[in-house]
């Protein structure tokens, strides 16, 4: 099993610290979302893992080996860094052929990944005629070329149409399901929430969180319950008796903060309060993330092995 291990990784550009003493692992069999605002150091970290930039200190390894020591690396690691990397005057297929040749990947894989990414019909067109979404798919095709056990994608949903976004979600889930190690950076919370199992969150080059996504949200966002009733007075009294505070909203529904739907449902039922609607409002990744970055000044990096 191949994981990505980052150890005390630091990268300085002049006096600016892009990555600051990062330590985390990305494990196989799940999708790890790599979150942080623009400029937090996500792309730099990926470049360091790929041996493209030299770390100021610390190390990054793939399956305990530095990237440069991998024999035919595309067969181990597939990466999408920049959708603009393919030369505009080459056809998409030729772009993939040059990559495949360097790592002795059979030519049939080129046509397979083109079909898999939905580019088969434009494979012989020059890349400069591609839309951003098509370039993004070509970059993903390049990442999948060597059937790698580690896949790293930097902002893969950039420029994809809604259909493409659903496609990439399914792709990421499938890759993780096949036991591969999948690291996907994004600054889009709802998008990340739809595919990630685990999160690594960066802020200004430092590690802010390394935790399963569900725990990350639950630890930061209190659950709420949403209720509609025909008898507000009775509802309010019942809840108040048990220490819950119900707040009425404009369109007639009530929100109970810091409460679980199981408890509220039982209370209402026991008190005979007629309910029209009872629903749990789960915390979203976006709320949890804003809570974390809002508290960034006083944060202590939490590092949990999962």
């Amino acid at each position: 099993m191949t994981s990505i291990d980052v150890q005390n990784l630091t990268k300085e550009y002049g006096s600016r610290r892009a990555v600051d003493d990062l330590t985390f692992s990305v494990r196989p069999g799940r999708v790890t979302g790599f979150l942080g605002p623009n400029g937090a150091g996500k792309s730099t970290t990926m470049r360091l893992v790929l041996g493209l930039d030299r770390p100021t200190s610390g190390s990054a390894t793939i399956g305990a080996r530095p990237y440069a020591a991998l024999h035919e690396p595309l067969r181990h690691v597939g990466a999408l860094l920049d959708a603009q990397a393919a030369h505009g005057s080459r056809t998409g297929r030729d772009h993939l052929r040059t990559l495949a040749a360097s790592n002795r990947i059979p030519q049939r894989r080129v046509d397979e990944v083109l079909a898999e990414t939905g580019l088969a019909s434009v494979a012989r067109r020059r890349v400069k005629t591609y839309s951003l979404g098509m370039r993004q798919r070509l970059g993903i095709a390049a990442a999948l070329l060597g059937e790698p056990e580690v896949v790293m994608l930097d902002e893969p949903s950039n420029g994809l149409d809604p259909e493409g976004i659903i496609w990439i979600r399914a792709l990421l889930r499938r890759l993780a399901g096949e036991g591969r190690t999948v690291l996907v950076s994004s600054h889009l919370m709802n998008e990340t929430a739809s595919f990630a199992d685990h999160l690594v969150v960066l802020g200004r080059g430092r590690l802010l969180a390394d935790t399963p996504m569900r725990e990350f949200i639950d630890a930061r966002v209190q659950p709420r319950v949403r209720i509609r009733t025909t008898d507000p007075t009775s509802l309010k009294n019942t809840l108040a008796r048990h220490g819950h505070d119900a707040v009425e909203h404009e369109d007639g529904h009530w929100i109970v903060d810091h409460a679980r739907v199981d408890d509220i449902g039982r209370l209402a039922s026991a008190a005979g309060v007629p309910l029209l609607e009872l629903a749990a409002e789960e915390g979203t990744l976006e709320q949890a993330y804003l809570d974390l970055t809002g508290a960034e000044t006083e944060f202590t990096a939490q590092h949990q092995e999962a």
Partner: protein
């Protein structure tokens, strides 16, 4: 990583870019065309039939330089080098493969160019070319191939250092077109060891500087080697 697949990949990159294939064709066309033109004007006391026959190399080299530059500069746009080096993390090996993939086609096209230029030039000169010996003609053809290859490699190395095709061409082309013409008649000076001046001795029947045809190409080779070493150093050292 083995070398052959890397070389194969670099060769594919050259074959699949029309501008590069076009650049190679331009080497042949420009050289032959200007050699033919030169043959039409042979006035003056210092007429040298060998130089007349290969006169077009001075123009063909611009295409060779553009070829060497573009082959490397295409790696420095849009993060292409990152994709390349992620596939081939052994940077030294990669750069050697790139160099070979540039040198071999230019050498091949250079030989054809030399042959065509000779044939066209002699046809235009007619009897005025009778003084050329078989040895001089062979020297010119081989020299044409080697000279064009070295100039393409000089440009390739410089591009790797400057990381920009525009920067490379805006140094080399004015240099070749202007500097050499301006100081062209000053023989026996520093001008003799400039890469183009030194290498072009091979296209003269007689020479009066310190450098002969092969030593002159050797000097051009040193320039190209220096540029390539600097390029390799830059590729290995710097963040991609």
């Amino acid at each position: 990583m083995e070398f052959t697949p890397v070389l194969h990949s670099e060769w594919l990159k050259i074959r699949t870019l029309r501008s590069l294939v076009g650049g190679l064709a331009a080497v042949l066309l420009a050289t032959a065309a200007f050699s033919a033109l030169a043959g039409a004007d042979t006035e003056g006391a210092a007429f040298d039939p060998l130089f007349s026959v290969f006169f077009g190399v001075g123009f063909g080299q611009i295409a060779a330089i553009a070829f060497g530059t573009t082959a490397v500069s295409s790696e420095f746009r849009g993060g292409a080098l990152r994709v390349t080096l992620a596939a081939v993390p052994r940077r030294g090996r990669w750069f050697v493969a790139k160099t070979v993939a540039i040198a071999v086609p230019v050498l091949g096209v250079g030989l054809v160019t030399g042959g065509v230029s000779l044939a066209v030039g002699k046809a235009v000169l007619g009897t005025r070319a009778d003084g050329l010996t078989w040895g001089e003609e062979l020297r010119g053809v081989v020299g044409c191939a080697v000279y064009l290859t070295l100039m393409a490699l000089l440009a390739a190395g410089l591009t790797a250092v400057l990381r920009s095709g525009v920067a490379t061409l805006s140094i080399l082309i004015p240099f070749l077109l202007i500097v050499s013409f301006v100081i062209g008649d000053m023989s026996g000076s520093v001008a003799d060891v400039l890469p183009d001046r030194a290498g072009q001795v091979v296209f003269h029947e007689t020479w009066d500087g310190a450098l002969g045809p092969w030593t002159g190409l050797g000097v051009t080779g040193l320039w190209a080697a220096a540029a390539l070493l600097a390029g390799a150093w830059s590729i290995r050292r710097r963040d991609a």
